[in-house]
């Protein structure tokens, strides 16, 4: 077992859900309420020292009870290692703690997750849409139930099933 997984499991026996190690990537899943504590531990602990935020992402699993998965990826420039932190969010209560107080770069990355997947972030300084227009009301484009051709007025276009000859 990887030393990060072991340490996180020892320190957070309550919030730890699971961990995987595949193709050299270490991923740790924690419960939503412990997320900020774990992130703080990753950021401040001298053995972890994850000072660099790589990306914030989200995955939609429509069949699961807790539908959305929010993914943070961190890197340590001093120690040269990386880790992936994940948590699950149900659709009915789609909110998770923001990590902008630990990594400033999380601001825009979390806004993108909100814009694309509709997951809200508690204590985020400026949670608005970032890539889609502010007045966009047709939903969240990267959700699996959002059709590829788009929604709203575009959906009323006549699509040709076959090329006419």
């Amino acid at each position: 077992m990887h030393q990060f997984i072991k340490r996180i499991q020892e320190t957070f026996s309550v919030g730890f859900v699971g961990a995987t190690e595949w193709r050299g990537d270490v991923a740790v899943t924690v419960t939503r309420d412990k997320l900020h504590e774990v992130a703080q531990f990753l950021h401040n602990d001298p053995g972890m020292d994850f000072d660099y935020i790589v990306h914030v992402s989200s995955v939609d699993w429509p069949d699961d009870e807790e539908r959305f998965e929010v993914v943070w990826e961190f890197y340590s420039i001093r120690k040269r290692h990386r880790i992936r932190l994940k948590t699950r969010v149900p659709e009915s209560d789609c909110i998770v703690d923001s990590l902008t107080d630990l990594w400033k770069g999380a601001d825009f990355m979390e806004r993108e997750v909100f814009d694309m997947m509709g997951i809200r972030f508690r204590n985020h300084p400026d949670l608005r849409r970032i890539l889609m227009p502010d007045d966009y009301t047709e939903g969240y484009p990267l959700r699996k139930d959002f059709p590829l051709r788009g929604k709203g007025w575009r959906d009323t276009f006549d699509f040709l099933d076959e090329v006419p000859r």
Partner: protein, 414 residues
């Protein structure tokens, strides 16, 4: 006299201070200015709402997404091979490096070993692309600041390399030359000759660019001490590439997590001190010299060999076999229409593009299409620090700031 009348309306008497009856105070207010979406220096379609106090920036709010095409959503609908041309359109100035980053990510997912010659070819072309990217950056940044000559010199030399790309893969910008497991075609003797000629021709030209700029007082005044960011803040914002190295952090994935043929090459990573626009410019110029060094070493070390991994279930057959051999034709057809069967799992793979760390996070549930594909675009993350870095500087420095990130909106908005 009409002018005088207008002026008097601006003044007001402050009742708190009796002396103000004789010395009227000037009424001031914050000005809100929309910069863009159509502005030649924003390198695409970007709007920034600037809050100004006089000529100083108090706050700036980037409004992005004008070029959003939903590339991540499109990726979920196509096979892994089909997504390669989409990556060209991310950072359309440097398509090769996007192909490279994406192919590396899929190779990590499939646990694929790339043959040695292909690794060298990939490194050579990636470094040629880095030269093109930095030339493009230097030319446009100088043009934005007002030094026009450098632009022509940079673009003249960039043209040579674009023609070289044209001969290599038939396209100048949207190249799609990299393939999962290797590259599309080998370098011909003519291409190697032309590249060698360019390597002899180019270093004196870099000195020329530098002379133009280093002796230009306007360039120095507008880059030195402008848009300073400390190393700690730069790391916290997740900046990467020359933008981070300008602040003195030597984070370069070519050295930190060596890939392709980089570990076999001897090169250094230039690092700045002050974290200002000038240091970031200097790093990019120094990287031009380093790229020339890397390409030279690769051309020397490169041996004959296959250019594509031989894993028929994943990699494409050579093109000449597709047109002569039925099995290869079927293989090619099946790989493009159905894709290969990826194992379930998730990976993240970052690559040091010339703008910064370009990463792909791929979630696979098996089958021929990615379940989720997230692009970690350096331009987007750099824009997150725009507000923080612009505060307190002059309005004209906002333009320097766009330039210093080397922002391309195709990548920023995806």
């Amino acid at each position: 006299m009409a002018f005088e009348d207008q002026r008097t309306t601006v003044y007001k008497v402050n009742p708190e201070h009796p002396e103000s009856e004789t010395l009227p105070t000037l009424r001031t207010e914050e000005l809100l200015l929309n910069m863009g979406p159509q502005h030649p220096s924003t390198h695409g379609v970007l709007k920034v709402i600037l809050e100004l106090e006089g000529e100083r920036l108090v706050k700036s709010t980037p409004v992005m997404g004008f070029l959003h095409r939903g590339v991540e959503k499109l990726a979920e609908d196509g096979t892994y091979h089909q997504f390669i041309p989409h990556t060209d359109r991310l950072d359309y100035v440097c398509a090769m490096y996007n192909n490279f980053a994406y192919c590396r990510a899929v190779e990590k997912l499939m646990n694929l070993q790339v043959p040695e010659r292909a690794e060298y070819l990939r490194t050579i072309v990636a470094e040629v692309q880095r030269i093109i990217g930095h030339q493009f950056w230097l030319g446009t940044q100088a043009l934005d600041i007002g030094a026009m000559t450098v632009f022509f010199y940079c673009f003249r030399d960039r043209e040579i390399l674009l023609d070289w790309f044209d001969e290599l893969c038939g396209a100048r910008l949207t190249t799609s030359w990299y393939r999962i497991g290797g590259v599309e075609r080998d370098l011909t003797p003519s291409l190697i000759d032309k590249l060698k000629q360019f390597l002899d021709y180019f270093p004196p030209k870099i000195d020329e660019y530098v002379v133009f700029l280093e002796t230009n007082r306007i360039w120095l005044a507008r880059t030195k001490g402008v848009a300073v960011i400390s190393a700690e803040d730069a790391v916290s914002f997740g900046l990467s590439g020359p933008t981070l190295r300008g602040s003195g952090v030597d984070y370069d994935l070519r050295k930190y997590e060596p890939y392709s043929a980089y570990p076999k090459c001897d090169f250094s990573v230039p690092v700045g001190k002050n974290g200002d626009t000038y240091d970031r410019y200097w790093i990019r110029v120094m990287e031009l010299y380093e790229s020339v060094k890397i390409i030279r070493q690769c051309l020397e070390q490169m041996q004959e060999g296959p250019i594509m991994a031989d894993v028929p279930s994943v990699t494409l057959p050579p093109k000449e076999r597709v047109f002569t051999n039925l099995e290869s034709m079927i293989q090619q057809f099946k790989l493009f229409s159905q894709g290969f069967n990826a194992p379930p799992g998730e990976i993240y793979c970052g690559t040091e593009a010339h703008k910064g760390e370009l990463g792909f996070y791929i979630v696979s549930t098996g089958g021929g299409k990615p379940y989720r594909l997230k692009i970690r675009a350096p331009s987007f993350i750099h824009m997150g620090a725009f507000d923080y870095m612009s505060r307190g500087y002059m309005i004209a420095d906002a333009i320097t700031l766009f330039g210093t990130y080397d922002v391309v909106m195709g990548e920023c908005d995806r």
